[in-house]
C-alpha cells in the first residue's frame, strides 16, 4: 500500500506556515493570495479556495486582488516552501522510511508492512492527516495499491480517500483529466474530443488512442485506469533542522522576538521528534537591520551556539535557554530575521538507578546553569569561565585551573583515599600586592591591608619557576609560609616574591 499526502494551494500553505498558530487559523478563514515576480509587476501565483471563490484568478496583478477588499497578500518565498516541503517529508517519515518527494507540496510513501503499527489503511490515513495538521498543513490523503493511483486520488479528492486494490478504475473514473497533468496540446485534443474525465479516457480504444496521441496518450490512459506500476524514488532524510522567520518590519522588543522564537523551536523539536531524534547543539542567528547599525564595530549578525551536555528535544527547555541569553544581550539594531538550527543527535537513553545518588535533573540543570550565568556572567576578564566544574591543569604554575562544563554524567570513581584532616589554602585572587621587610634572609614583617603584621615564624624559601622560554608567560617566585600576629590571633599566610617583577604578594591564607 502507498499513501500520498498532498497540500492544496501549497505556496499559500507554505506562506501561512510561517505565521503563529492562532493567526494561521484565522488567516485560513480569509482569502489569501501569494504573489511573485519582479517588484514592479507582482502577479498572483497561488490563491486559497476563499480567494478563488471571491473571484481572484491566477495571473492577476497584485493591484487586482487588493481591490477586492480584505485579501491577505503574501510574497512567495522559496525558503518557506523548502521548509514546508521538508516538514512534509518529516511528517511522512514518522510513518515510513521510504518517502518520495513527488512534487512541491506532495509526498508519496510506502505503507507496506505498517498495518500492525498504524492499523488498517483508513486508520493510518487518519493518523497521517492528524500528523500533517500538527505540522500546520491541511492535507488530502489517499491510500492505494500503487503510487500513481494514490497521487491522483490525493490530488482529485478532498480529505481522506482509501482505494482498495482492483477498484482503481472505478474510483478514479469521476476525476477530471487535468489531474493527470497532461501536456497542454494533449489536454486541448482531449477537450476537443469531449474527453473530460478519467472514465471517459479509460473507455477509449487503446489502438486508436495510440494512433492519434502516441505513447503519451497510452500512458495517460493507463494512469487513468490506475494500473500503472512505478518504483518509488525515496529521498535521503535531510539532517538540516533549520527554521527561520523574516519579519516584515524589523522588531525591537524582546516579546515579539521570543514569540516567534518559541514557535520556531516548537517546529524544530516537532521535526526532531518525528525522526526520533534530539539535539545536542542549538544555533540561533539573528540578522539585524543593517541600515541602523551605527558603528562599524557592531556586527550585523548576532549568533549564539549552545552546546548541550546531553541531547534534548524539549522545546520548552530550549526556549528558556535561549530566552535567558537574549534577556542578557543587547542588540545594536532591530532584528529583521531569526534563524534557529538544531544539530541532530540520538536521544539520551538513561535508566534511573534505585541506589544512585540524587543528582540535578539533566534537562533542568542546563536552565539552572544558564540562570546562574545570567547572574554572575559567563567568563572573567582573563577568559576563564565563571560557572563550571574545576579541573586542575597539569602545570607547576600555582593556581592553574580551568572550568569545564558541569554535567551529571557518571564520573570516574575516585580511587584515591581521602587524606584525614588536612588544612587548605584560601586564595586571594588576584594575589594581594604587599611589602615585606626581610631581615637575615627571612621575612620579618608583612603589610596586610593597612596593617603591618609581625612575622612570628617563617618557613621557606620554596623556589619555583616555569615558562622561561616565553617572555610573556614566564614566572619565577620565592614562596614563604609565614605565621603573622594579627589582632584576631595567629594567621598562617603564604607570601611570595615575584622574582621577575621584584614584587611581594600575599597569595592566600591557610584556613
Amino acid at each position: 500500500m502507498f499513501a500520498c499526502l498532498t497540500t492544496p494551494d501549497f505556496p499559500v500553505q507554505a506562506a501561512l506556515c510561517s505565521e503563529p498558530e492562532h493567526r494561521r487559523e484565522l488567516l485560513k478563514q480569509s482569502p489569501v493570495v501569494v504573489v511573485d515576480g519582479p517588484a514592479s509587476l507582482l502577479r498572483v501565483v497561488a490563491a486559497n479556495q476563499k480567494a478563488r471563490r471571491a473571484g481572484i484568478a491566477i495571473g492577476m496583478t497584485k493591484l487586482q486582488p487588493e481591490s477586492f477588499g480584505v485579501v491577505v497578500i503574501r510574497k512567495r518565498s522559496a525558503q518557506y516552501e523548502d521548509a514546508a516541503q521538508t516538514a512534509l517529508l518529516d511528517c511522512a517519515r514518522s510513518f515510513s522510511p521510504r518517502v518520495e518527494s513527488t512534487a512541491p507540496g506532495t509526498v508519496t510513501f510506502d505503507l507496506q508492512g505498517t498495518e500492525k503499527l498504524f492499523g488498517p489503511a483508513r486508520h493510518a490515513a487518519q493518523k497521517i492527516a492528524l500528523c500533517a495538521r500538527e505540522f500546520g498543513f491541511d492535507a488530502n490523503i489517499a491510500v492505494a495499491a500503487n503510487p500513481g493511483t494514490a497521487l491522483h486520488a490525493a490530488r482529485g479528492f478532498q480529505g481522506i480517500t482509501v482505494i482498495p486494490a482492483g477498484e482503481e478504475a472505478a474510483r478514479l473514473a469521476s476525476l477530471p483529466v487535468d489531474v493527470l497533468v497532461p501536456s497542454p496540446e494533449i489536454l486541448d485534443i482531449l477537450e476537443s474530443w469531449g474527453i473530460r474525465t478519467f472514465g471517459a479516457l479509460a473507455a477509449l480504444p487503446p489502438i486508436s488512442l495510440s494512433e492519434r496521441l502516441g505513447q503519451d496518450g497510452l500512458q495517460l490512459q493507463r494512469l487513468a485506469i490506475g494500473k500503472i506500476e512505478r518504483t518509488l524514488v525515496p529521498v535521503e532524510p535531510s539532517d538540516d533542522f533549520t527554521e527561520s522567520f523574516e519579519f516584515e518590519d524589523p522588531v525591537e522588543t524582546l516579546e515579539s522576538l521570543t514569540f516567534i522564537l518559541n514557535r520556531l523551536l516548537g517546529q524544530v523539536c516537532m521535526r526532531l521528534a518525528s525522526r526520533s531524534l534530539a539535539t545536542n547543539e542549538l544555533r540561533l542567528k539573528l540578522e539585524l537591520e543593517a541600515r541602523q547599525v551605527k558603528t562599524g564595530a557592531e556586527k550585523e549578525i548576532y549568533e549564539r551556539i549552545w552546546k548541550l551536555p546531553l541531547p534534548i528535544a524539549d522545546a520548552k527547555v530550549l526556549f528558556r535557554l535561549a530566552c535567558l541569553d537574549l534577556n542578557s544581550s543587547s542588540f545594536a539594531a532591530p532584528v529583521k530575521r531569526l534563524m534557529v538550527e538544531a544539530v541532530p543527535a540520538k536521544p539520551r537513553s538513561a535508566q534511573g538507578g534505585l541506589f544512585a545518588p540524587v543528582s540535578p535533573e539533566a534537562e533542568q540543570l542546563e536552565i539552572t546553569l544558564a540562570r546562574i550565568r545570567s547572574v554572575v556572567g559567563s567568563a572573567d576578564e582573563v577568559g576563564v569561565a565563571c560557572v563550571g566544574s574545576p579541573e586542575v591543569l597539569d602545570s607547576h604554575r600555582p593556581d592553574s585551573f580551568m572550568l569545564k562544563s558541569f554535567s551529571t554524567k557518571p564520573a570516574k570513581p575516585v580511587t584515591r583515599a581521602i587524606p584525614a584532616s588536612v588544612f587548605v589554602l584560601r586564595l586571594f585572587r588576584p594575589a594581594l600586592v604587599t611589602s615585606v621587610e626581610v631581615s637575615n634572609g627571612k621575612p620579618r614583617s608583612v603589610l596586610l591591608g593597612r596593617r603591618l603584621l609581625l612575622v612570628l615564624a617563617a618557613s621557606g624559601p620554596w623556589c619555583g619557576s616555569g615558562q622561561w622560554w616565553n617572555a610573556s608567560s614566564a614566572w619565577a617566585r620565592e614562596e614563604w609560609d609565614v605565621a603573622l600576629k594579627t589582632p584576631e590571633g595567629t594567621g598562617f599566610y603564604r607570601v611570595f616574591l615575584d622574582r621577575l617583577r621584584k614584587q611581594w604578594f600575599v597569595e592566600g591564607m591557610f584556613d
Binding site: 545518588p357 540524587v358 543528582s359 540535578p360 535533573e361 533542568q364 540543570l365 539552572t368 540562570r371 546562574i372 547572574v375 554572575v376 556572567g377 559567563s378 567568563a379 572573567d380 576578564e381 565563571c386 560557572v387 563550571g388 566544574s389 574545576p390 579541573e391 586542575v392 600555582p398 593556581d399 585551573f401 572550568l403 558541569f406 551529571t408 564520573a411 570516574k412 570513581p413 575516585v414 584515591r416 583515599a417 581521602i418 587524606p419 584525614a420 584532616s421 588536612v422 588544612f423 587548605v424 589554602l425 584560601r426 586564595l427 586571594f428 612570628l456 618557613s459 609560609d481 594579627t486 589582632p487 584576631e488 590571633g489 595567629t490 594567621g491 598562617f492 592566600g508 591557610f510 584556613d511
Partner: protein
C-alpha cells in the same frame, strides 16, 4: 461541649491539618571527615549550617568545609555546589584533600562587570541552586565579604533559605566570619585556632577549637568544644 471545643471540632472536620502541630523532619547528617565534629553528628541535611571563623587569623573554617566537600562529593558521590562570593576556592588544595572536582559546581561571583555586587550575586545563585534541587551539598562562601556588608542581609532571606532547604536532602552551608542566620540555622560552628603551634621549620599543624554555638539536636549547644588538629599536605 463548650463552644471552643465545638468550633474546633467543626474546623478540624473540614480542615484536618488546621490544628496539627508542625514537626520538623528528622535530620540526616553528612560526616565531615573530622572525627571530633562527626561525634556531634556532622552536618545536617535539610538544614542551614553556618561555619564561622576569623577573616584575618587562620581558623580552619575552609579546611573543615573542604573536608566536608570531600566526604560528600567523593565518599557519598553527591553532586555539590560552591557559590564562591570572593573567588577564594583553591582547586589544587581541594583536589589534594580528596575532593572529586568533577562532582563540584563552582560558581565564581564578582568576576565580571555585572550590576549586582558579589554578595547579592551569591545569594541569588544560592537561591537558584536551592530551588533547582538535586545537589547534596550547597555551600556559600562569604568568608571574604566584609562583615558590615553581610550583616545587612535581611533575616527574611535566611528564613526563606532554611524553609526551602528543609524539605530537601541538601545540606546548605554558609561559610563566614560571624553567624547571621540566628534561629534559622540548624547548626552553627565557630572555629578558632589555638596559638603557638609551629613545630620545627615547616608549617605542618593547625590546631583548631570548634564551638558549637547552635545545634537543633544538642542542648545546651555551647557545652561542647571539640578540639582537632589539621595537618598540612606535606606533613
Amino acid at each position: 461541649m463548650n463552644s471552643a471545643v465545638l468550633l474546633r471540632s467543626q474546623i478540624e472536620s473540614r480542615i484536618p491539618s488546621a490544628f496539627a502541630v508542625y514537626r520538623r523532619p528528622q535530620h540526616k547528617f553528612i560526616p565531615t571527615g573530622i572525627s571530633q565534629i562527626d561525634d556531634l553528628g556532622g552536618i545536617p541535611l535539610g538544614a542551614l549550617t553556618e561555619i564561622c571563623g576569623s577573616q584575618l587569623a587562620s581558623s580552619g573554617k575552609t579546611s573543615l568545609f573542604i573536608s566536608l566537600l570531600a566526604q560528600a562529593a567523593t565518599e557519598r558521590e553527591m553532586f555539590c555546589a560552591l557559590v564562591d562570593a570572593s573567588d577564594a576556592f583553591d582547586p589544587t588544595s581541594a583536589e589534594a584533600a580528596g575532593v572529586a572536582l568533577s562532582r563540584l559546581l563552582w560558581v565564581r561571583c564578582g568576576k565580571t562587570r555585572q550590576k549586582l555586587p558579589p554578595l547579592e550575586q551569591a545569594f541569588k545563585v544560592a537561591d537558584i541552586l536551592v530551588q533547582s534541587g538535586g545537589f547534596g551539598l550547597i555551600a556559600v562562601d562569604l568568608g571574604g565579604i566584609p562583615e558590615r556588608v553581610v550583616r545587612k542581609v535581611p533575616l527574611a532571606s535566611w528564613f526563606r533559605f532554611s524553609r526551602v532547604v528543609e524539605k530537601q536532602p541538601t545540606a546548605l552551608v554558609f561559610i563566614g566570619q560571624q553567624p547571621h542566620a540566628t534561629s534559622c540555622a540548624g547548626l552553627v560552628l565557630n572555629l578558632k585556632n589555638r596559638p603557638g603551634i609551629w613545630p620545627g621549620n615547616l608549617l605542618t599543624n593547625l590546631c583548631v577549637e570548634a564551638e558549637v554555638v547552635r545545634a537543633l539536636d544538642r542542648k545546651p549547644a555551647g557545652s561542647v568544644r571539640p578540639v582537632f588538629s589539621l595537618k598540612s599536605q606535606w606533613a
